[in-house]
């Protein structure tokens, strides 16, 4: 890892000496302390002198902060320092009051997280009820879901995916770390199964079949 740094310096010999790893660790530590939001590896690297290896420095820091009152966590492609979850009770005065989410919003959020990318029609199919505009808006506003790619099916519907802010809020490294994801997948509960008798959807591999939604159409 540290060789990488040496290599890139070799390209510009003598221009800058790469700081020793201990010093790089200090720098990354200072940067992480400075940020409230997760900061990407690239953004860290951009602040460091050329030739530094922030990935290695982060590895050292993660070990250093393991079990401490503050931990280094990974959020998607970014990193952040967060207080240890078991000490949350000490921070009563720092608590952020969350707006209470409706049951519809919570379920919709879970469906987007576990089924992403997912279309509105698919969310409605799973819940068996129309998703109100306000529910989606609220989740978008919280920056917990965002628009993903359009589905390549007739109508090219938009899909929803969860955001990095969602991962950050729920302390997840990635959407793959969602609790019980593996079990749900193995139980076939994340599959798209067309209603028997309905013509198999052309784009069935692209997501849940549409047949189901017809059931609830009026």
């Amino acid at each position: 890892m540290s060789d990488e740094g040496l290599e890139s310096v070799a390209e510009e010999p003598g221009l800058f000496a790469v700081p020793p790893m201990a010093e790089q660790e200090r720098m990354v530590e200072a940067i992480l302390f400075a940020c409230a939001d997760p900061i990407t590896l690239q953004a860290i690297a951009a602040r460091l002198p050329q030739g530094c290896d922030p990935a290695e420095a982060l590895g050292h820091l993660r070990a250093r902060y393991a079990g401490r009152g503050v931990n280094l966590v990974r959020v998607g492609d970014a990193y952040a320092l967060r207080t240890a979850p078991d000490l949350g009770w000490l921070m009563q005065s720092e608590r952020v009051e969350m707006r209470k989410l409706s049951r519809a919003a919570i379920e919709t959020l879970a469906i987007v997280a576990y089924h992403q990318p997912v279309t509105r029609a698919e969310i409605e199919e799973i819940r068996g009820v129309a998703v109100s505009r306000g529910t989606v808006d609220q989740l978008l506003e919280l920056d917990w879901i965002r628009l993903g790619r359009r589905r390549m099916t007739p109508g090219r519907p938009v899909t929803f995916v969860v955001t990095e802010a969602f991962l950050d809020h729920f302390g997840l490294e990635s959407a793959r770390d969602l609790p019980g994801l593996k079990e749900l997948r193995e139980a076939g509960l994340l599959d798209s199964r067309p209603m028997p008798g309905q013509p198999a959807d052309d784009e069935a591999e692209d997501g849940p079949a549409r047949g189901q939604s017809e059931l609830f159409e009026d």
Partner: protein
């Protein structure tokens, strides 16, 4: 247990059904209602009796009708579909009939309910996780990563030249009247000429009477000539000067009018 469902007139079942009707607004659609009803069977969703579930649902809709409670359309669509499913489950398939069996349809409905239930549980687990701002906290005093915003102005040589070209061409299109600095006013010409008149005893070209600084640049010279010429016309009209031109477009000459001048003397 099965008997209970077959006889909805049993007290518990009736109470349950009534409770459901009263709470109909609390359900998030027919699937949610079916899921709630299925809990009454107290079995794993995979072993649920879809037939009984369908019957219970239909009983619920029936009661709602009897109580003149208006049900949303999708509840009725579901009821119609469940009635169809029930008939498929109870009647032997007609010979040569295509399409899914009642069992396949029932299995799919059971799977849908299981999936909804799974998502409910997943949502609950998600909300039960440590949350930012509640269980773990961000840096309270983040250093403002000082973005010393340095504005670098860009201007290319082309911009510079364009600007200059714009300035130089603007004069050519500008309404003439606005160009005060290059205009020699008629009043000034008349005053100047009147002052110079006593010395104008010999024929002198009009050009010679142009003021200093108005002879070089064409625009200024034009203005001065025009004003001075207009002034000579005025003075000629007053009979104070004489004008002479040897031929068309030849230089214009002027001198003080002698007869009158000598009369003055």
């Amino acid at each position: 247990m099965q008997d209970d469902w077959d006889k909805p007139e049993t007290v518990t079942a009736r109470r349950e059904a009534e409770a459901l009707i009263v709470d109909v607004a609390g359900f998030e659609g027919p699937l949610d209602l079916l899921l709630t009803l299925s809990r009454a069977q107290k079995v794993d969703l995979r072993r649920i009796s879809v037939l009984h579930l369908a019957e219970q649902y239909l009983g619920f809709v029936e009661q709602a009708r009897a109580l003149r409670i208006e049900l949303a359309a999708d509840y009725l669509v579901m009821a119609a579909w469940l009635a169809y499913l029930k008939s498929r489950l109870l009647l032997p398939p007609e010979p040569g009939e295509d399409g899914p069996t009642g069992e396949e349809l029932a299995a799919h409905l059971a799977w849908q309910l299981e999936r909804l239930q799974a998502m409910r549980e997943a949502a609950a687990r998600l909300m039960g996780r440590d949350q930012k701002g509640r269980d773990f906290f961000v840096r309270g005093a983040p250093t403002v990563l000082a973005v010393s915003r340095k504005t670098q102005y860009e201007a290319s040589l082309l911009d510079l030249m364009r600007a200059y070209a714009r300035l130089r061409t603007r004069d050519e299109f500008r309404p003439y009247a606005f160009d005060r600095s290059d205009i020699y006013p008629y009043e000034a010409a008349l005053e100047r000429l009147t002052q110079l008149l006593p010395g104008a005893q010999d024929w002198t070209a009009l050009q010679r009477y142009l003021p200093e600084g108005w002879r070089g640049k064409p625009a200024r010279q034009r203005s001065a000539i025009a004003s001075t010429f207009a002034a000579t016309l005025e003075l000629a009209k007053q009979g104070r000067i004489e004008l002479r031109q040897s031929e068309t477009f030849a230089p214009l000459h002027l001198r003080r009018r002698m007869d009158r001048g000598s009369a003055d003397e």
